[in-house]
Amino acid sequence: MKVTKDLVAASATPMVLGILAEADSYGYAILRRISELSGGELDWTEGLLYPLLHRLERLGHVESDWRSVAGERRRKYYRITDSGLAELAEQRRQWDTVVDTLKEIWLGRGDSRPLIAIPLGGHA
């Protein structure tokens, strides 16, 4: 399965901010984490991630600095700011709305009618 480009682009910001809200991180680790969490379905390119990080930095949602963690290479770490946390909360609210609405439509409330129009992976 391939997630369309528009959807990847739209969801990239909350994902990056969400990962950075857990802990400070650097580009390669963020990419690995996204890949892990999505079970390899979301395959981001470097051309997507780094310009996005730089944009978030320009907007003040994240800050960056070069750090040398013991036993590792010097890396550019990103840290979420207060404005980034606020942005994350806002994005989360919007995504919750979108996801809830989709669930309502697709699964239906108390409606047992099977949804023939939606092909589910694996089922004939």
Binding site: Y26, G27, Y28, A29, L31, T45, E46, G47, L48, Y50, P51, L52, H54, R55, R58, W66, R73, R74, R75, K76
Partner: protein, 454 residues
């Protein structure tokens, strides 16, 4: 294993080299991406790949640099516009050097502005003593530009001596001859002395390497860029003056005298040095504009000249050769020569002859054809009515330009046919430069006594 490591480092170094050639990617980006690439390689080595295999896979995963830089450019579009950093970093030696340049420029520009006003101390004024100012104008300003360049090139004592002697000679030519206000020679000196002195500036420009033809070509480039910058500064100055005039007028103060006496002359004089400094400061940062204009106008001028030739053949009437017409056709040749020079200055010497070279050949040949027609008319006139300083100067210039263009056309024809390398054309143009200087000095120094101060 260490062998593999060394090889890997070399591969990383090469990859970095490619990344750093991209203007969209700064060296901080390169560091970040390299770290990413190394992370990817480490992981692949961890699952059992050899170092060189891992590198190939990691680079492949990153995708093409073209795509990557395109994505970066979307976020950092400002990086595609080269910015001129005039004062540089405070700490770096290059920054210290450019700040010294800035200081020297300010001193020289102030000197030029002060020089243009200095004669007022002796009771001369810009408005009333045009006969004094007209031939001397270049003498107030160009020595300062030459001084700035000589300082920047750390010219030797001998060169400085020659520069000073030539400017002194210019001052003698402008002031010693007893020329009347209305004489043709005053006008001729007014036109030719700046040209002669500009070549003295050229001497200061190439002071660090007098013999190298490359430096002469650099001076041609400098001249074109200087002209473009001077015009741009002039336009900006015009806007400034318009606002100065309008705003002060609105509160009932008339700034007319102040503008005409101070702002305009001092600004114009200082801008000569400022434009020279700008060209020096920006030469490696901003693309040259003169060759771009050349590309734009060569086809248009070729078309115009060919149209003129066709129209001339169809109507088969003679050319009305007045004195102005001769000057006009001189200027036409100058423009054609400039178009030629500035495309030469920007051309890759090793590139084979292309369509543009053929177009230029057409331009030069049609200009030559027109000029021959004009010359045939004019020599008839001169033999009939005798000569004057104006006619002699215009005719001399025409012949000098004609000789240059004719030989250039020959070299270009051979270039288009692949018989001569481009370097021959370049060398011809740089070798010819002193001829213009010599002629300008002849008009300034020899013509007035030759024509009995007419």
């Amino acid at each position: 294993m260490t062998d593999g490591q060394a090889e890997l480092q070399a591969q990383f170094a090469q990859w970095r080299h490619y990344v750093q050639r991209r203007r969209e990617l700064t060296s901080a980006d390169a560091d970040e991406l390299e770290d990413h690439l190394r992370g990817c390689v480490d992981e692949l080595v961890g699952v059992g790949l050899r170092a060189d295999e891992a590198f190939l896979v990691a680079v492949k995963r990153m995708g093409s640099l073209d795509e990557l830089s395109r994505e970066f450019a979307r976020e950092h579009s400002e990086r595609l516009w080269k910015q001129l950093v005039l004062t540089g970093d405070i700490d770096s030696p290059a920054g210290a050097r450019s700040r010294r340049d800035l200081l020297a420029m300010i001193v020289c520009a102030a000197g030029a502005a002060a020089s243009i006003k200095a004669p007022e101390l002796f009771g001369l004024s810009l408005e009333q003593d045009g006969a004094f100012y007209a031939p001397n104008l270049a003498l107030f300003v160009l020595p300062w530009l030459a001084a700035f360049l000589a300082w920047r090139r750390q010219a030797g004592k001998a060169v400085i001596g020659v520069l000073a002697a030539l400017f002194a000679l210019g001052a003698v030519a402008a002031n010693v001859y007893p020329l009347g206000d209305e004489s043709q020679s005053v006008v001729l000196t007014g036109i030719h002395l700046p040209i002669a002195l500009w070549f003295v500036v050229g001497l200061a420009y190439i002071a660090d390497d007098l013999r190298a033809p490359r430096r002469r070509m650099d001076f041609i480039r400098f001249t074109g860029e200087w002209f473009v910058y001077y015009v741009l500064i002039g336009l900006g100055g015009g806007v400034l003056i318009a606002f100065l005039f309008g705003t002060f007028e609105a509160i009932g103060i008339s700034p007319e005298g102040f503008i005409a006496q101070w702002v305009a002359p001092c600004g114009a004089a200082a801008a000569v040095v400022v434009a020279g400094w700008l060209v020096e400061a920006k030469q490696s940062v901003v693309e040259n504009i003169a060759p771009v204009l050349t590309r734009l106008f060569t086809p248009l001028f070729t078309l115009a000249l060919l149209a003129f030739l066709v129209a001339f053949a169809v109507t088969s009437g003679g050319i009305d050769v007045e004195r102005e017409a001769l000057i006009l056709f001189d200027l036409l040749l100058v423009v054609v020569l400039a178009l030629l020079l500035y495309s030469i200055s920007a051309r890759d010497p090793l590139a084979p002859a292309g369509v543009f070279d053929k177009l230029q050949l057409a331009l030069v040949v049609s200009a030559l054809a027109i000029d021959v027609l004009v010359l045939m008319e004019i020599t008839g006139r001169i033999t009939e009515f005798g000569t004057t300083p104006n006619k002699a100067a215009a005719l001399g210039e025409n012949i000098i330009l004609l000789a240059n263009l004719a030989w250039s056309a020959w070299l270009m024809l051979r270039l288009v046919r692949g018989r001569t390398p481009f370097a021959a054309l370049e060398r011809w143009q740089t070798t010819y430069l002193p001829v213009y200087a010599l002629w300008a000095w002849i008009v300034v120094l020899v013509f007035p006594p030759l024509f009995a101060y007419l």
